[in-house]
Symmetry: C2
Subunit: 115 residues, 2 copies
Amino acid sequence: MKLRIEDAEKIADKLRFRFGGLIVAVAQDAFTNEVLMVAFMNREAFVKTLTTGLAHYWSISRGELWMKGETSGNVQKIVDIVLDCDYDTVLLKVEQIGVACHEGFRSCFHNKLQP
Amino acid sequence: MKLRIEDAEKIADKLRFRFGGLIVAVAQDAFTNEVLMVAFMNREAFVKTLTTGLAHYWSISRGELWMKGETSGNVQKIVDIVLDCDYDTVLLKVEQIGVACHEGFRSCFHNKLQP
């Protein structure tokens, strides 16, 4: 999925950015439905994601835009994007190249509680 | 899943609450893997979720704890809980009774972008 910047900006206009300009983004494997990671996007990250077809996020800790996989090569190719009912959360259905987690796991969610 | 309060508190101690004491929670259908909704939890909501086996969240707009389905009956029974690598996001694998979305949809993610 790659949109023209005008179309991406129009969709971004619908979103409700909170926490000083952020929305929550959930990346889900488009083929297995595994939830891979959760991160934040500001408006620029959202628009870049739509126009490039590759997931971009806003790093709160580093205070900067980042493209997932920019250094590792573990990019996320956008297959589909679904917005929630409140327009403040984005579900990215992605083709995950390599792994999503910086610890080498396929998914960041790998600490299962043992009841 | 229902934990004793002592065990739930120990797990809560590991979490990194941000944004004034909140973590992001993703509810995923435990059987179909559909992502149902995203909401926030404070420590109390997290501990209540573990001790009751039913999803509880913190409503930012209303400034109060809420049990999902308390009035509608559309509760989320906890099947599994998985923490992410940074311990600041929770993935709830749930048995969703009825629908997750207040608009009547099974999932809150029902606004698919049409590229």
